[in-house]
């Protein structure tokens, strides 16, 4: 009965657009989307370059990047905490317990996912287009824009995986953000806190929103790949 009551209250909070709930959702989206955007900006070209390059030690680098996809968030949080703390190398930035620190932590977690999935996806595409692009005199970094555009539908999945990793993450943002109410509290850290306090309605409401967001974004990525297949033969 307690669960049913908490669930009903949670739906009510979401439906009433509760200001506290909305502030947490807005910060979560700001942090996660910023991290994914930055990871895309660096990870997509990096993954593409890795897909088309051949150099000694490449296989080792690929294995290392694949392994980094499974980075434990609390370890990343701890490392960034040490770097951003007053005595750390980046202490002068004053980012600790601020949203930029949370963005940095999520960026570090998302970047290997974007690089690895981009590399994998574009390596197949490079096999398909290699001779054609070489015959046009393109090679190395010159083919990167073409490959990124040609792989746009499958790369949406790579970014989605990064978004999923960032939005569901709790350990790293908790350590570097500090879960300060109204400032660095995200959906995941709030869920952890409210559950431990026994405030199930807010935790459930945030959980529902998180699930809904994941569903909407997955549906959008699925739709994009279907549109690609239907209209571009992707």
């Amino acid at each position: 009965m307690e669960f049913v009551s908490a669930f009903t209250t949670a739906i009510g909070m979401v439906a009433d657009v509760d200001p506290a709930l909305m502030a947490i959702i807005a910060l979560s989206l700001r942090v996660t989307l910023s991290a994914v955007f930055l990871a895309a900006l660096i990870g997509l070209p990096l993954g593409a370059l890795l897909a088309v390059s051949r150099f000694p030690g490449r296989a080792l680098l690929v294995v290392a990047i694949n392994a980094l996809m499974g980075l434990p968030p609390v370890v990343v949080g701890l490392a960034i905490y040490l770097m951003l703390s007053r005595s750390g190398p980046l202490g002068g930035l004053g980012w600790l317990f601020t949203p930029p620190a949370m963005i940095l932590a999520q960026f570090v977690l998302v970047l290997p996912i974007v690089v690895a999935l981009t590399r994998q996806s574009l390596e197949d595409l490079w096999g398909e287009y290699r001779e054609h692009l070489l015959s046009l005199g393109q090679s190395g970094w010159q083919v990167v824009p073409t490959l990124l555009w040609e792989g746009r539908f499958s790369l949406a999945t790579a970014l989605l995986a990064g978004f999923g990793r960032a939005s569901a993450e709790v350990g790293a943002v908790l350590i570097v953000g500090g879960n300060i109410a109204g400032y660095t509290r995200t959906m995941t850290t709030a869920i952890a806190l409210e559950t431990s306090k026994g405030d199930l309605p807010l935790a459930l409401g945030l959980g529902l929103v998180l699930l809904l967001l994941t569903l909407v974004i997955n549906a959008a990525a699925f739709g994009a790949s279907r549109i690609g297949a239907r209209f571009m033969g992707a």
Binding site: E131, H132, S135, R152, F231, A234
Partner: protein, 244 residues
């Protein structure tokens, strides 16, 4: 070893070309020349080295030895690249037919406005204007190959290499491709195509280079070759008796 050596008056001059992998010689030493505005068929059985020779000439693979030299007709260099290639299986980007042509033109260095103009002109010239806005990868195999040839032609190359351009096509589509090639040749383009389709070589080529086991076994006019090859392997190939 040099891929682009000193000038020659011939559009393409290949001398002592070899290609080896792990010490195993796959091609050559092989020499041949291509005359301006001629249609040259490279024929031979599967595995003879036809496709390899075209890829070497086009610069997709670095030779192990020998030289490949290109010359340009004085004052006729409108294209940044002197040669283009069409593959057996057309490679289409995930864009419209027109955008595929524009991409190729931009890639070789034409300005955006010139790329637009060249693409439109090539599509119109080869009767593909109605397909311009269709996604290229959703076109039929024959349409894609016609588009691939139009794309290469839009680059205005002096030499067009074609690797078995009709190998997967039905007779109707083959006929359309051959008509395009005849048009290009009449406009002064040099065509070098690999094929194992002897009737096609007979229809299109003025000269035939017969390759067997990576070596030029015979270099002859098409009429003389098909009337009676000089080489024993050429005779066996025409009779359908030549085994690798």
């Amino acid at each position: 070893m040099s891929v682009h050596g000193p000038r020659t008056i011939l559009p393409l001059l290949v001398e002592n070309l070899t290609y080896e992998v792990d010490g195993e010689k796959l091609l050559g030493p092989l020499s041949l020349s291509v005359n301006r505005a001629e249609a040259l068929a490279i024929i031979g059985p599967n595995g003879a080295g036809k496709s390899l020779l075209l890829r070497l000439c086009h610069g997709l693979i670095a030779p192990s030895g020998g030289t490949i030299r290109f010359a340009s007709a004085a004052g006729s260099i409108a294209a940044p690249k002197r040669h283009a290639m069409v593959f057996q299986k057309p490679v289409m980007l995930r864009r419209s037919a027109r955008e595929n042509l524009i991409h190729a033109c931009r890639a070789v260095g034409f300005s955006h406005s010139e790329s637009l103009q060249r693409s439109g002109s090539a599509l119109h010239r080869f009767g593909l204007a109605s397909l311009a806005d269709r996604p290229a990868r959703l076109l039929s195999g024959g349409e894609q190959q016609r588009l691939a040839i139009a794309r290469a032609a839009a680059l205005d190359p002096e030499i067009l290499f074609l690797d078995e351009p009709t190998a997967h096509l039905d007779p109707g589509a083959t006929r359309q491709i051959e008509d395009m090639l005849i048009t290009l040749k009449e406009q002064g383009m040099t065509l070098v195509f690999a094929t194992h389709d002897l009737p096609q070589a007979r229809r299109l080529a003025e000269r035939v280079v017969f390759i067997h086991r990576g070596q030029v076994e015979e270099d002859n006019t098409a009429s003389a070759f098909f009337a009676g090859p000089r080489s024993q392997s050429g005779k066996a190939f025409i009779a359908g008796d030549l085994l690798w």
